[in-house]
Structure formats: structure tokens, C-alpha cells
């Protein structure tokens, strides 16, 4: 751990982050429109903790993660990692940040270069981001292979010679190579089968304890999130609708969307299952290119009122740091 920030100060601070994609229509001089994939997203994350971002497909959770890792350009907002601005920097500064922030990708089948050997995949960040000598690189690679549970003789193999779970282990080893402080996990287990999911999640937890890592954990699976994180941000249509610690979110969900999401998590506990009433949300999210002025969730919300159709609720503290963006929650 570096000592350049006081204990307890957040490692990652995201303020009013916005990402938009230009949609051009009709050739060279066509009108330009923007799709706001991430809109006014703020959260912070303390060292050694895990923040989960959950939401359905297209809610902007992956784009948020990519923007923090500088893999997609944000148009507004501020991202700070260890008191250092991330957005707008280039060259050597960006290299420093990349060393601190690493990424684990969703699909282990497409996130490994099929023409690189396993050890070269893990070596790439060492080569590009650090000045380690090649002997030291080899030592680091050997250690990482052991840490993620791969055998030394597998170093020389190509990605297609591994199973999905083993591939994700290589991806994790690559992310760990530069000794980062923050690791962004973009649905790291959603492409794996259930038995392997548990192995990888346990591995991630063990590594967190071993290296003191901080995770930003993206998922659509609340069941997975429940076992991984300290706090949770629920996203819908590019905005955070509820943001609080794990306990209050699971015991006392306030936003109607969160309530519906939680009711969809299967439970094996008979008593809990009986208590829980399944709330289903009908319809699809509205067209992101034609945003309405009210709450984005209003057209699917079972309790929407006129106010919800007219004005967008802000994310406000509803007591004890439980942030909710809903007019109906007081």
C-alpha cells in the first residue's frame, strides 16, 4: 500500500461522470445526436473494499467501468484514483494510472489474444507499464501463475488450450501483474458455468485479502454481488438510482427498481421464499436516444405518479447514507 493518502480517504472517487456516444445519421454532414450511456454518476470507494455496480444490460455499468479505466472517453465529470485525476491525462501520467487501475474482462474467450502464449499475455502489462528486467518479469509471472492456481507448465500454452475458468485465471493474473491498487471486474464470472463461477469468486476474494486489493465489481447478478461487496450502486438507464452499503440494500431496498431486482433473486430458504413476493417489471427500458424529462423508470414503475413523469428525481440521502433517486421515497 502506498502511504500518499490518509487512511480512510477513498481510493476511487467518481464525480458527475458522463459518457456519451455520437450517433451520426445520413453520411458526412448528417445531424449528430448523442446517446447518453452514463449520466451524472457519482460514487466513491475506500481502499480494500468492494463496490458493486448492478443493473440490466444497457444500463451503462460497463461503460462506467471502461471510462474509469480510460478505455472509453468521458465527456464530463471527474475521476480520481488515489487523489490523482484520471480523465484528461496523457503519456507518462496515463501510464502511472494504468499501473494502478487494471481491468478483468467479462468474456475470457475474447479477452485473451489467441496468438500470445499465456505467459506473454501476463507479461504484456509488465513490459508496457513497468521497467522490470526480464528475469524479474519471469519471477513475477511464476508467482502470479501460482497465485491464481495455474500450473507452471501451462505458461507456454495458447489460450485455446485452456478451459473458460482457466482463461479467466490468466485474465486475473494479467490484471494483477503491475500490482494495481484498483481492479475493475466487469462481470468476471457471467460467461462461466456455475461451479467455475464459485471458484473464480473465491479466488478473487482470496486475492483481495492477500494483496489488499480494491474491487469495482460490475454485475447483473445480485446473488453474486451479495457475496462479494461492501456497498452497491444500482444503475438504470445510465444513472445511479440507489447507492448504499450491502446490508441496507438487501434488507431495506428503497427504490422500486431495486425492490423488483431483489425479488428476482432466487432463494433456497423456504421461509424467505414464502415472504418474498415476486415483483415483475413489464416492458423494456425506453429508447435511450429519446429520453423523457421525468424519471427514466416512470413508464415501467408500478407506483409512478404524475410527478415522476414530469421531473427527474435527484440522488439524495434518505438517511444513514442510503442514497436513492426516487420521488416516492422519503
Amino acid at each position: 500500500m502506498t502511504q500518499d493518502s490518509p487512511q480512510g480517504a477513498p481510493l476511487l472517487q467518481v464525480e458527475n461522470l458522463g459518457v456519451r456516444f455520437a450517433i451520426k445519421r445520413g453520411g458526412l454532414f448528417g445531424e449528430k445526436r448523442y446517446l447518453y450511456a452514463v449520466d451524472d454518476v457519482s460514487f466513491s470507494l475506500k481502499r480494500g473494499e468492494t463496490l458493486a455496480i448492478v443493473g440490466e444490460s444497457g444500463s451503462g455499468k460497463t461503460t462506467t467501468a471502461l471510462a474509469i479505466a480510460r478505455l472509453v472517453d468521458a465527456y464530463t465529470g471527474r475521476v480520481r484514483v488515489a487523489e490523482q485525476d484520471v480523465l484528461g491525462i496523457e503519456g507518462e501520467d496515463l501510464r502511472q494510472i494504468r499501473r494502478k487501475v487494471q481491468f478483468i474482462f467479462q468474456d475470457p474467450y475474447s479477452s485473451l489474444n489467441p496468438r500470445q502464449r499465456a505467459e506473454d499475455i501476463v507479461r504484456e502489462p509488465l513490459q508496457s507499464l513497468t521497467e522490470t528486467s526480464s528475469e524479474d518479469q519471469q519471477k513475477i509471472i511464476d508467482r502470479l501463475f501460482a497465485s491464481v492456481g495455474l500450473r507452471p507448465e501451462q505458461k507456454r500454452l495458447f489460450p485455446h488450450q485452456f478451459s473458460g475458468g482457466q482463461r479467466q485465471r490468466i485474465g486475473i493474473a494479467r490484471a494483477l501483474a503491475t500490482q494495481p491498487e484498483l481492479i475493475i471486474c466487469d462481470e468476471p464470472v457471467s460467461a462461466l458455468d456455475v461451479a467455475v463461477q464459485a471458484q473464480i469468486l473465491n479466488l478473487l476474494r482470496d486475492l483481495q485479502a492477500e494483496f489488499g486489493l480494491t474491487y469495482l465489481f460490475i454485475s447483473h447478478d445480485l446473488g453474486v454481488v451479495q457475496h462479494m461487496c461492501d456497498s452497491i450502486a444500482v444503475m438504470y438507464m445510465g444513472r445511479v438510482v440507489e447507492y448504499t452499503d450491502r446490508r441496507s440494500l438487501f434488507n431495506d431496498p428503497k427504490h422500486p427498481y431495486t425492490t423488483a431486482l431483489l425479488s428476482a433473486v432466487p432463494s433456497i430458504d423456504k421461509k424467505r421464499r414464502a415472504e418474498m413476493k415476486r415483483i415483475s417489471i413489464h416492458g423494456d427500458p425506453p429508447d435511450p436516444l429519446a429520453p423523457q424529462k421525468g424519471c427514466h423508470f416512470a413508464n415501467r414503475c408500478p407506483m409512478a405518479t404524475d410527478t415522476c413523469q414530469q421531473s427527474q428525481p435527484a440522488l439524495t440521502d434518505k438517511g444513514n447514507g442510503h442514497m436513492v433517486a426516487c420521488h416516492l421515497v422519503t
Binding site: L66, A69, L71, L94, R95, R98, R99, Q102, F103, F105, Q106, D107, S110, S111, L112, N113, P114, R115, R117, E124, P125, S128, L129, G149, L150, R151, E153, Q154, K155, R156, L157, F158, H160, Q161, S163, G165, Q166, G171, R174, Q199
Partner: protein
């Protein structure tokens, strides 16, 4: 958790070779190609007859007086001409393919990687070269700058790089969006390395096939140019033999057929090898 069988790590070169060797038609193509190349390299030394000398009566049919392929309309030994012509055809074929790959891959890679205005400009240039009538354009170049071998090579390269550029661009557009390229970006890999070490190797299979086909089409192109008389008069080439004997096609058809067959067999062998390379270099097709 890891009870899958351990696999030996072998060099990718050996793995590719084993895959290639399993493809019979590719091996056949390679054997033919090696024989032709050996003939081109050592043939003139082993069969020292000068292809420009009048050695026997004109229009002697194959086999006559020990001349295996017979003689042409000037009484020159056709076998000696074929052997010497192989040199020119293969050199021009390879060199022209290299020229067009260098131009095509560079332009395609830049266009596909950087997108935006760079892509617009480069692809409009590519389209400009694409709509030019290729044979006519190369004839203009050769007629303007002289019919020397380097100029003919350059002319063929300049008119045939567009296909490589388009294929390279298409592959770059596909691959640059893949997660492993993003992962390399997150690993701090610089643009030049990203383009040529990460994306290009993965874009190679279609480029290799196209290049192999291009060697063949460059040989055909050269044959076409020299058939029309646009060739270095001091060297023999297969197309030139066909061109100079074309008036006698009815009386002595072998003078045209034999060099034609030489071109056909060479181009076919190159295509077979290119196909085999495609399978061999794609690790996804390799046995597990």
C-alpha cells in the same frame, strides 16, 4: 479444479508445419513449387543452352532431335526458354506481391486502426486505384518509365494493392473492437505495437491467402504485359514466349501450350500452398 490433461507446449512453427503437412493438396502444391524454384535456380546451370540461340530448325515438334519441348519459330530451344523464364516469372511474382502487400497492409492498417478522417482519405485513394483499369494503368507506367524488370514489378504492385488494403482494413475494424485489444490498451501497449504486434498477427490469415493468390496473379499479370510486348527484351519470360509465338498457334500449338501450362501449374501450386497456409496459421483450427 485443473484436472484437464496437461498439454505439451510446442513451438507454433512446428505446430503450423504439422497442420500444413496434414493437408495433402497443400503439400502437393509445395512440392511442385519447390521443384519449379529449384529448376529456376539451378536449371540454367544444369541445362546451359542459351535461350536466345538458334539451335535447330524452327517449329521442330517436342522430342525432335533430343529437344524435349521442341523449338519455336526462330529455332530456339523451348526447354531452355521455359527454364530461364521461370526465374523471371517467379521473381516478378514474388517481388510484385511484396510491393502490394507493403502498400496494402500499411494503408489498410492505418485506415482500420485510426478510423475517422484518416480512414476516409485513405479509402478514397484506395477506391481511386480500384476503379482504374489495371492492365491499362500498368501499361502506361511501363510505357512511360521503360520496360525494365524493377519497373514492371512496381507497376504490377501499384495496381494490385487495393484488395490487400481493403482486406486488412476490414480485419482491423473487426479486431480492434475485440476485448483482447482493449485489454492490451489497458496494459498500456502503445499504438504502433498494438497495430503490428497485437492486431496484425490476428489479421494475417486472410492477408496470407490473398498474398499467395497475388503471387499467382502477378505472374499472370506479367505474362499479360509481356504477351503485349511490354517486357524487358533481354530476358525471357513465359508470357513473352506465348506472345512471340502467338501467330503460329495453329501450326505449332505446343509453342504456346507449353509456356501456358507452366504458368497454369505454377499459379495452381501457389494457390494450393496459400490455402494450406491459411489452415496451418489459424490456431483455432489446430487440434486440441
Amino acid at each position: 479444479m485443473t484436472d484437464e490433461p496437461i498439454q505439451k507446449a510446442r513451438s507454433p512453427f512446428i505446430e503450423a508445419w504439422e497442420m500444413f503437412a496434414r493437408n495433402r493438396s497443400a503439400v502437393a502444391g509445395l512440392i511442385i513449387l519447390v521443384l519449379i524454384s529449384l529448376g529456376a535456380v539451378f536449371g540454367p546451370a544444369l541445362y546451359p543452352t542459351d535461350p536466345f540461340d538458334m539451335v535447330w530448325a524452327p517449329f521442330s515438334p517436342p522430342g525432335d532431335a533430343g529437344f524435349i519441348f521442341g523449338t519455336d519459330y526462330l529455332g530456339r530451344d523451348l526447354l531452355a526458354m521455359i527454364i530461364n523464364g521461370a526465374r523471371v516469372s517467379l521473381i516478378i511474382g514474388l517481388a510484385a506481391a511484396v510491393v502490394s502487400i507493403v502498400i496494402g497492409v500499411t494503408i489498410g492498417a492505418l485506415a482500420g486502426f485510426y478510423r475517422g478522417i484518416i480512414e476516409e482519405i485513405l479509402m478514397r485513394i484506395t477506391e481511386f486505384f480500384q476503379v482504374l483499369p489495371t492492365l491499362l494503368f500498368s501499361m502506361v507506367i511501363v510505357a512511360l518509365f521503360g520496360a525494365s524488370l524493377p519497373m514492371i514489378t512496381l507497376a504490377i504492385g501499384i495496381v494490385s494493392w487495393t484488395a490487400v488494403a481493403r482486406i486488412t482494413r476490414a480485419e482491423f475494424l473487426r479486431i480492434r473492437e475485440l476485448e483482447y485489444v482493449m485489454a492490451s490498451r489497458a496494459s498500456g501497449t502503445k499504438n504502433a505495437k498494438l497495430m503490428f504486434r497485437i492486431i496484425l498477427p490476428n489479421a494475417l490469415p486472410p492477408i496470407i491467402v490473398q498474398s499467395a493468390l497475388m503471387v499467382g496473379s502477378a505472374i499472370l499479370f506479367e505474362a499479360g504485359l509481356s504477351f503485349l510486348g511490354l517486357t524487358d527484351p533481354n530476358v525471357v519470360s513465359w508470357g513473352q514466349i506465348i506472345g512471340s509465338n502467338r501467330q503460329y498457334i495453329l501450326d505449332a500449338s505446343y509453342t504456346v501450350t507449353i509456356p501456358g501450362l507452366a504458368i497454369f501449374v505454377t499459379v495452381l501450386a501457389i494457390s494450393l500452398v496459400g490455402d494450406g497456409l491459411n489452415d496451418a496459421l489459424n490456431p483455432k483450427l489446430r487440434s486440441r
